[in-house]
């Protein structure tokens, strides 16, 4: 069975198989992407993930952008005005499990997809945006929000939705928990020893987990040899390279999305290439 994101006659390019099996229909089959960005703090995960999500959406896909980082970041790169877009209290309810422990689940009658439909913030190009929920202070208890977010991860909208995730920096748990939906992990690495060391650690973690594809993006490259150095330094296959781009710093300082300030600059062009490269990766067997 096939689902289409819109009527076949108007846009035959986007046909999403419910399973990854072959179909007999004509037209290019685009499998919705599930991508998560990981890497060292400051490597550029949020900037690339936000731009990636918007470019994907501008190409006609339904995109859910997931920010699993308790520090804000992806809202800015997406150009969503709401920097704290966690689930509201009403979306989550508590219950007692078999052992009498207090647990959280989505409100009765709600599923992951209906929660996304109701609560994910609408961003530019129709991107939907959902966050883990931010830390608000020493006594702020965000267990409820975090549990709700986890339940959405367990029951993400399926056919037709591409998922783009921005994971917390570092090497602790991203592969095992926050990014468990991803088919492709994009490790964002600068051509510096500390960033490459982080990339190697993430590659090791991936090998221990039930790993999907893990690829590296060389970010902020300045020399022609940087991309190859990053690939060799991390031992990961190179998805693409993004040049060092002062415009990105300008966008960060202004708190604006790069795609709103410099939609045709070198970074935006490089991310378009990343989208194309990821698509061909995910479509290959």
């Amino acid at each position: 069975m096939l689902l289409t994101s819109r009527s076949l006659d108007s846009s035959p390019r986007y046909v999403f198989p419910v399973t990854s099996g072959q179909t007999g229909l004509p037209g290019r089959i685009v499998r919705a992407m599930r991508v998560a960005f990981v890497g060292k703090g400051g490597a550029g995960k949020s900037s690339l993930a936000g731009s990636f999500a918007r470019i994907l959406a501008s190409q006609g896909e339904r995109v859910l952008a997931l920010d699993s980082d308790p520090m804000p970041g992806m809202a800015f790169s997406l150009g969503v005005p709401q920097t704290d877009a966690g689930l509201p209290d009403e979306a989550v309810e508590d219950y007692e499990d078999d052992q009498g422990r207090r647990r959280w689940r989505l409100r009765t009658g709600m599923t992951g997809p209906t929660t996304v439909e109701q609560y994910a913030v609408r961003g530019p190009q129709g991107v939907r945006f959902l966050q883990l929920g931010k830390a608000h202070g020493p006594r702020w208890d965000n267990t409820r929000q975090h549990a709700g977010f986890q339940r959405v991860l367990d029951d993400l909208p399926g056919a037709g939705w591409s998922i783009v995730g921005d994971l917390p920096g570092g090497t602790r748990q991203p592969f095992l928990t926050w990014g468990r939906y991803a088919r492709t992990f994009v490790v964002v690495v600068e051509p510096t020893p500390a960033s490459m060391l982080t990339g190697r650690r993430l590659a090791r973690l991936a090998a221990g987990a039930d790993a999907p594809r893990v690829v590296v993006v060389a970010n902020k490259v300045r020399d022609p040899g940087d991309a190859e150095r990053v690939s060799q330094g991390t031992g990961l296959p190179l998805l693409g390279a993004v040049p060092f781009d002062p415009a990105l710093g300008d966008a960060d300082r202004a708190g604006r999305a790069l795609l709103d300030l410099h939609p045709d600059g070198p970074t935006a062009q490089a991310v378009r290439s990343l989208v194309a490269a990821t698509r061909s990766q995910e479509e290959s067997p």
Binding site: K40, G41, G42, A43, M71, P168, G169, G170, T171, R172, P193, A194, L197, T198, R200, R201
Partner: protein
């Protein structure tokens, strides 16, 4: 003095910590630099080099894997999970235990 450096990813915590530690070391203070980051790179910023930094991480990882005993006290920890960095700074990697057993403080 006891100084903790915190902040957003990529804002310069590790670099700042390393410069403070080495500056104090140069001024003749005995300095212990603690890398509490779950992704510990302070060795690189201190000038310890990539290999020595990664070695400290692998010793730390061996504890999680059960191949290495936990430190019995603070001195043991600084001895076994540490290395000498330039300017007399002693570095130790002290990231939290990932899956503590019941009873582990």
């Amino acid at each position: 003095m006891k100084i903790a450096v915190v902040g957003k990813g990529g804002s310069g915590k590790t670099t700042t910590s390393a410069v403070i530690a080495r500056t104090l070391g140069r001024d003749g203070h005995a300095v212990l630099a603690l890398d509490c980051d779950s992704n510990p790179n302070l060795g690189i910023s201190l000038g310890l080099g990539e290999q020595a930094t990664e070695h400290l991480v692998s010793v730390r990882d061996a504890v999680d894997a059960g191949e290495q005993e936990h430190a019995s006290d603070a001195d043991d920890l600084v001895e076994r999970f540490g290395a000498d960095a330039p300017d007399g700074v002693r570095l130790a990697v002290v990231t939290a235990i990932q899956n503590p057993q019941p009873g582990c403080p």
